[in-house]
């Protein structure tokens, strides 16, 4: 099956393209500056809608993550980014419900990072990649 041609796949690309193509100088006016932020947002809502946690639990985790960042002035190395804190809160509530394992998440993240995107697309491919010969 080619997921790339499904309606949902198209919708996803549309949304992500919209996000990445927005002018950068208007960044402060945008709700999302990176596609992953919108995914983080949508996943948090989806998990809540599927009954994994009360929205208030997520909010408390978010408040806690933001407070921790603010209290870490002097020690911290990360710049202020709202959706970093959002992701931290999301990981925390999902771990709390037992559906997310930190080790598993790290492992998967590592796999994604070590799989180059478009592995072959930095090289000109001057020959057909597949040929269905004439009969």
């Amino acid at each position: 099956m080619r997921a790339a041609t499904t309606e949902v796949g198209d919708a996803r690309r549309r949304v992500e393209q919209l996000l990445t193509e927005l002018p950068r100088d208007g960044e402060e006016q945008l709700s999302f500056t990176q596609p992953w932020e919108l995914r983080a947002f949508a996943v948090a809502v989806a998990a809540h809608e599927n009954g994994l946690y009360d929205w208030s639990e997520f909010q408390l985790a978010l408040i806690g993550a933001i407070r921790e960042w603010q209290d870490s002035a002097g020690r911290r190395v990360e710049p202020w980014r709202y959706y970093d804190r959002w992701l931290e809160a999301l990981e925390s509530v999902l771990s709390g419900t037992g559906v997310l394992d930190g080790g598993e998440l790290n492992y998967r993240k590592h796999a994604i990072l070590t799989t180059p995107r478009d592995t072959d697309h930095h090289h000109a491919r001057r020959d057909p990649v597949a040929v269905d010969p004439a009969r």
């Binding site: 949902v8 919708a11 996803r12 949304v15 919209l18 996000l19 960044e27 402060e28 006016q29 945008l30 709700s31 999302f32 500056t33 990176q34 596609p35 992953w36 919108l38 995914r39 983080a40 947002f41 949508a42 996943v43 809502v45 989806a46 998990a47 809540h48 809608e49 599927n50 994994l52 929205w55 208030s56 909010q59 978010l62 408040i63 933001i66 407070r67 603010q70 190395v77 990360e78 710049p79 202020w80 709202y82 970093d84 992701l87 999301l90 990981e91 999902l94 559906v99 997310l100 080790g103 598993e104 998440l105 790290n106 492992y107 998967r108 993240k109 590592h110 796999a111 994604i112 990072l113």
Partner: protein, 207 residues
């Protein structure tokens, strides 16, 4: 691959790269979908809804109706949640809403000092500056100066500025003043004038 290669050191001394955070989110979403916690379709649908379908234009229709229908305005100020529900507007994070009215004597502005509580169903998702620590702290300490310096909105000294702290339980939206010279405009034309910033209270509605 050894375990140490995949587990980050606890005392991180360099900021994570954008690629790393994006990969982490991608991994999280993939795991949740594989475990059957959610479907890609549901996540996509939500992303689309919040990016494209709800937004300040819904709040703008509420404001325009309040400007043209005094009875609706009275209901909005008495119970914003119910008044918005009359117009079919409501949902997550819009359960308990309060509309505060700007007048010749009072200017209202909304913040969430703890995180970013915000009435999504009427205003869409909050802009980035709303979520910045700089806004969240300074608008409380010196709202008039911040409105002037950061938003170019010079509220006259004769007008009281009230800052409302949205929380998980209660979210505020501002009912801005109808600008002069709009007596002939229809409700739909008025709605086009109403901006998100005017409903947060950091800008007036301009013609």
């Amino acid at each position: 691959m050894t375990r140490s290669e995949i587990t980050p050191s606890p005392d991180v001394t360099v900021p994570r790269s954008e690629a790393e955070i994006a990969a982490r989110m991608k991994a999280l979403e993939a795991l949740m979908i594989e475990k059957g916690i959610m479907t890609t379709e549901a996540v996509d649908r939500l992303a689309e809804i919040y990016e494209n379908e709800v937004g300040p234009q819904l709040g703008a229709t509420v404001v325009a109706k309040a400007w043209t229908d005094p009875e609706f305005k009275a209901r909005l100020l008495a119970n914003a949640t119910d008044a918005c529900a009359e117009m079919g507007i409501g949902g997550l994070q819009g359960e308990d809403m309060v509309a505060v009215e700007n007048t010749d004597d009072v200017h209202n502005v909304v913040v969430c000092t703890l995180c970013s509580c915000y009435p999504w169903p009427v205003l869409g998702l909050p802009p980035n500056w709303y979520k910045q620590p700089a806004y969240r702290s300074r608008i409380v300490r010196e709202p008039r100066a911040m409105l002037r310096d950061e938003f170019g909105h010079d509220v006259p000294e004769s007008v009281e500025v009230r800052v409302w702290d949205s929380s998980a339980e209660l979210r505020y939206m501002v009912l801005p003043q109808r600008p002069p010279g709009t007596e002939d405009k229809s409700e739909a034309e008025l709605a086009e004038l109403v901006t998100r910033d005017s409903m947060i209270g950091v800008a007036p509605v301009r013609v």
